[in-house]
Each structure stands twice: as structure tokens, then as C-alpha cells.
Amino acid sequence: MKNNMEVIMLMPEQGQKNKQVIPAPGPGGGSGPGPQAPQVEKPNTEEILKRMRKVDPDQARRYRQRTGE
């Protein structure tokens, strides 16, 4: 059984084997060869779209919080 320090040391060392780059910011959305939208009947979205259209487009820009735990 390894002690605590051995485990903690082991993980970063393993990490150095692969210097990969985190995907850069860009459009998301599962487009391309990822999972495809299912061929299912689309539910009635009009009510919820109506509610979404009422949301202020700048709301998130104004939303500021203190860092918490």
C-alpha cells in the first residue's frame, strides 16, 4: 500500500507524459461528427421560446458575484 505522499507524487508525474493543449474557445454545440440529434417528434416549444425571448440579452453581463467556496 502506498502512503499518501507516494500517491500525490504519482499523479502529476503521470500527467507529464502527455503535454496536450486544452481545446481552445470556440463554438460548441455538438456539430460535426459527434452525436447526432435523435429523429424524434419535437415537443411544443412555443411556450418556452416565448419565455426565453423575454430574457434580457444583457442579463449575464450585469450578473457579478463574489468568489465563494
Binding site: R64, R66, G68
Partner: protein, 515 residues
């Protein structure tokens, strides 16, 4: 979920959620001031200023030492110094309530925080977690009326500008599980479980900095930069080492998970906590196979979250690649070798785990009725097509925020739920009951009933004890070892039948502590 006799798990679990707060009419409000007023409007549901802070020690480290200082100490001191300028006492700022359902609601310097009572069944935990949402929804209404503006509460984890706040999970587990076995066993699991537990987010962040970006499945993944550590506000670790068991420390450890997202979907919370508890239970018996180890856990954490193709490929330490789905499936198979799946709730969780993974592999869109990140993704995608917007349009981020609004008449999650597009595990009646009453199968029952019936006699309260005054003497009811099958049933019966605290003293043969 059908009503059956609830069979307790062998450990307790609980959730502590920090909520975001804003005012609709004025973006420049003082969030701390709003938070103080908001929490204080819960007075009818609990008793104030009873929490015993002297017994809390967030510096105690599970690696066997006490941290001299935390990285967040300076930030905390700074916040504390700012808050001292306010015309309120420490108690008024904290506004700490122990609620009649056994939960805690208080102002954590920066955010209203709701800590569920400890639960020993998942379905009680879900009801208690939802009770917190409803309580805060009511608090926001009351505070809005009093302060003549519209207070908005968000159950999310980010402001999209690099400020994050948490939804921490607590699992009381046997201390006999070696710490290193826990660390190696939980790292790959916690990193990959976001594929069903994430709340979804539009944009990329780092500390104090937000930037436009694509959709990712975790709200919190951007904020984790360490593998193991005790801090929770800066340089956050995937494995948190805070060691405050709030139970007999010789027998129990509280495994404190800080990387999870706050979920609105009952199913997401249920699966997140249930699978984590299953893996922790299996770790009592065996360590995970080395083939589960990840080559670069921190990289994997963010790359899974940000993968726009939902493939979630990861590099293994022993070489080769797998996917988060396959690794989670391997975990599920491994867990089945050690955990008693005849337990009805464990069996349900395990089956749902396997089914969810299978659906994620074949048709993830089919999970939009149960996984937060997919429900939100579907909403944003639908709106984007309707309005012909690019993924960088700030309107979509505002909709992301609105998904988390706990006001059920406006929040987008609740729009989906009221349309029947989200699976429920509880009923409205279960949640009403959980607002008023503690869970029936944990020590929280004792705490909640004491608040309901004997609050004027209470001196202070902690998770694992209650101190009260009787005939000029102080008595302490120790709950550190009160579990189903061990003392708990006796305590519950005594509390249920007590006419006064004198009956508790007499029937539990408590001795005065001295003054």
C-alpha cells in the same frame, strides 16, 4: 419513484449549496447586504444564532496534519474586514438559522448558503435539497417585498466572469478506508462523472476572467488547478482534504467533494450522489484497478467538459485511450463486485447509472429530460436556431443564467419541468413535507424536532450534538454515533415522546456538563 419503506444507507450524505443573488432593477447592488436581508427572512422556519462555530476547523487536513494557513485566509480576512464596516454585528451578518427540517441556512460572507440535513436515503436528500430551493424562493419573495425591488436567486456556480461558488457534497464514510486508496479511487471517478452530473455552461473562465467560448458540460471544471489539497476558494483541488468528520473521528471520515455542480434536475442530483456513494462503499473493500488511472487528471477534467463533440476521450496512465463513458461503465462493473445491490435504492441507482451511460453513448439528446447539461444545451440550441444566433451571442449566456433561477414562475428549468419535460423523483407533497420536517432516518430528526419543540431551551447546535439548558444546568445530547441501528431509534423515540427537555435528560440519562 414508488413509495416504499426507506432502507437507510450505512452512511450519511448531504449537500451544501451557495446561491447566486442579484437584483433585477439594479445590477450594482451590494450582494452581501442583499444576502443578509434575504437569509433573515427565513425566521419563521428556524432558530437564529445557535450554531457553535468554536468546534469548526477547516484547517484540519486528512493527510494527517493541520494546515497553518489556507490560501483563502487572506480573501476571507479581506471580506471580513469589509463586512466589519457594515452596521451589523457578526451574528447579524451571518444570520445563521438552524431550520425546523434539520438544515442550516446562513450567509457565508458572500452567498446565501443552504446545507441540507444529513440524510441516509437518497430520496430524502433530493426532497431536502429541493426544500432548500423552495425556502430560498420564498425568502426572495419576502425580501423583494420588504426592500421594494426584485431579488433573484440562482442555483448555479458561476457569474461567467471568473467568480465561482460551490455546491459541496459530504459523504460520511468509515475511516478505515486508507486515505491513499480514496484519493486514487475517487480521482478518475470524479473527473468523469460530469458527463451525467454537470449543470452545463456557455463560455470559458479562469479566476477573475471570463471569455466567450463554446458550451461545456461542467460549470466548475474551469476552476480546478490542483489534484489534492485543502483549499476551497483558490487553487481548488479535485480531491479536497478537509477533515471535519462531524461524527466520531476514530470511526468516520467526511469525504468532502467540492468539484460538483449545483443541479436543478432531481435525477442529476440523485445519480451524482448515488454513484459517488456506491464507489465510496466499494472502496471499503478494494482499491481500484490501476488501469483506471488517468494520465493527466487535470487536463482530462477540462477537456471532457469542453469537448464539443461529446466524445470525452481521455488518456490512461498505463497507455492507450478510453472515454469517460467507458471508464464510468468500468467503475459501475467494478462497484457491482463489492456493493450489495439487493438494497433497493442502491440497485436503482446502479441500473440508472448503466442505462444513462449507454444512452450517452448512443443518443445523448434523449437525456434532455433528466440531465441538466443536456436539458440546457437543448434549450440553447433550440433558441439559437429560432433566433439565428451564433454561439457567442451574449443572449445565450443570459438564458444559461435564467435556467438556474429558482423562481418557478420565471426560471427556465422550471419552465421545462412544468411542461412535463423533466423527470421528477419527488412529489410537491414530498418537498412541502421536507420544508417542515427533518428526514426520518438520520440524526437530523433529533435536531429538527428539538428546533420545532424546544428551541427556547437550546444553547447551541452542531451537526453532531445539541446542547440545552435544564434547571440551570447545561446538558449535551451527543449525536456523533447516532446512526440507524445504533442509538438513533432510541433518541428519536425519546424526542418524539418528550413533553419537555427534562424528559430528554431523564430518559437518556444525561449528566450535567458543569457551568
Amino acid at each position: 419513484m414508488e413509495k416504499k419503506r426507506l432502507v437507510p444507507w450505512s452512511v450519511y450524505f448531504g449537500l451544501e449549496t451557495e446561491f447566486g443573488i442579484s437584483v433585477l432593477e439594479n445590477a450594482d447592488i451590494d450582494v452581501v447586504e442583499e444576502s443578509i436581508h434575504l437569509v433573515r427572512s427565513a425566521s419563521q422556519l428556524g432558530s437564529p444564532n445557535l450554531w457553535d462555530y468554536t468546534k469548526e476547523d477547516p484547517h484540519q487536513d486528512a493527510r494527517g496534519f493541520r494546515a497553518r494557513e489556507l490560501r483563502q485566509d487572506a480573501d476571507e480576512a479581506n471580506f471580513f474586514s469589509q463586512d466589519r464596516q457594515r452596521p451589523y454585528s457578526f451574528e447579524e451578518i451571518k444570520s445563521d438559522f438552524v431550520l425546523r427540517n434539520g438544515a442550516r441556512l446562513y450567509n457565508d460572507h458572500t452567498h446565501p448558503e443552504y446545507s441540507t440535513a444529513e440524510c441516509s436515503t437518497l430520496i430524502e436528500l433530493i426532497a431536502q435539497d429541493k426544500a432548500g430551493e423552495r425556502i430560498l424562493e420564498e425568502c426572495a419573495k419576502a425580501s423583494s417585498k420588504k426592500r421594494r425591488h426584485t431579488v433573484c436567486m440562482y442555483k448555479n456556480n458561476t457569474d461567467f466572469a471568473g467568480h465561482s461558488y460551490g455546491c459541496h457534497e459530504n459523504y460520511l464514510i468509515p475511516r478505515l478506508i486508507p486515505w491513499d486508496r480514496l484519493v486514487e479511487g475517487m480521482l478518475p471517478f470524479l473527473i468523469t462523472r460530469q458527463i451525467y452530473a454537470g449543470a452545463g455552461k456557455l463560455g470559458w473562465e479562469r479566476e477573475d476572467h471570463g471569455m466567450p467560448g463554446g458550451y461545456q458540460i461542467s460549470q466548475r471544471a474551469d476552476f480546478f488547478t490542483e489534484l489534492v489539497g485543502i483549499d476551497t476558494m483558490n487553487r481548488r483541488p479535485i480531491i479536497n482534504t478537509r477533515d471535519e468528520p462531524h461524527a466520531n473521528p476514530k470511526l468516520y471520515r467526511r469525504f468532502h467533494v467540492i468539484l460538483g455542480d449545483a443541479n436543478l434536475s432531481e435525477f442529476s442530483t440523485w445519480l451524482k450522489v448515488g454513484t459517488t456513494a456506491l464507489v465510496l462503499e466499494a472502496l471499503q473493500y478494494e482499491r481500484i484497478p490501476k488501469r483506471f488511472f488517468l494520465a493527466d487528471p487535470l487536463y482530462a477534467h477540462r477537456s471532457i467538459s469542453r469537448d464539443p463533440k461529446f466524445r470525452w476521450e481521455i488518456e490512461l496512465a498505463q497507455g492507450g485511450r478510453t472515454t469517460a463513458i467507458e471508464l464510468q461503465s468500468d467503475y459501475a462493473d467494478w462497484v457491482a463486485r463489492y456493493v450489495d445491490l439487493d438494497h433497493p435504492e442502491k440497485e436503482k441507482v446502479w441500473k440508472a447509472w448503466k442505462e444513462t451511460l449507454q444512452t450517452l453513448a448512443t443518443n445523448p439528446y434523449a437525456l434532455k429530460d433528466r440531465l441538466d447539461w443536456m436539458a440546457k444545451f437543448w434549450l440553447l440550441q433550440t433558441f439559437r436556431e429560432d433566433q439565428n444566433l451564433s454561439w457567442e451571442d451574449p443572449w445565450l449566456q443570459s438564458l444559461d443564467l435564467e435556467y438556474h433561477l429558482v423562481d418557478r414562475s420565471r426560471g427556465l428549468f422550471y419552465a421545462l419541468e412544468s411542461a412535463g419535460d423533466i423527470i421528477r423523483l419527488t412529489t410537491d407533497e414530498d418537498i412541502c413535507q421536507a420544508i417542515q420536517q427533518p428526514p426520518s432516518s438520520s440524526r437530523a430528526f433529533v435536531r429538527g424536532k428539538c428546533i420545532q419543540r424546544f428551541s427556547k431551551d437550546l444553547i447551541n447546535v452542531q451537526w453532531d450534538y445539541i446542547a440545552f439548558r435544564f434547571n440551570g444546568q447545561t446538558y449535551r445530547l451527543d449525536l456523533a454515533s447516532a446512526f440507524p441501528g445504533v442509538d438513533l431509534e432510541v433518541y428519536c423515540e425519546v424526542i418524539d415522546n418528550a413533553k419537555s427537555v427534562g424528559d430528554i435528560v431523564k430518559n437518556l440519562n444525561l449528566k450535567p456538563m458543569g457551568n
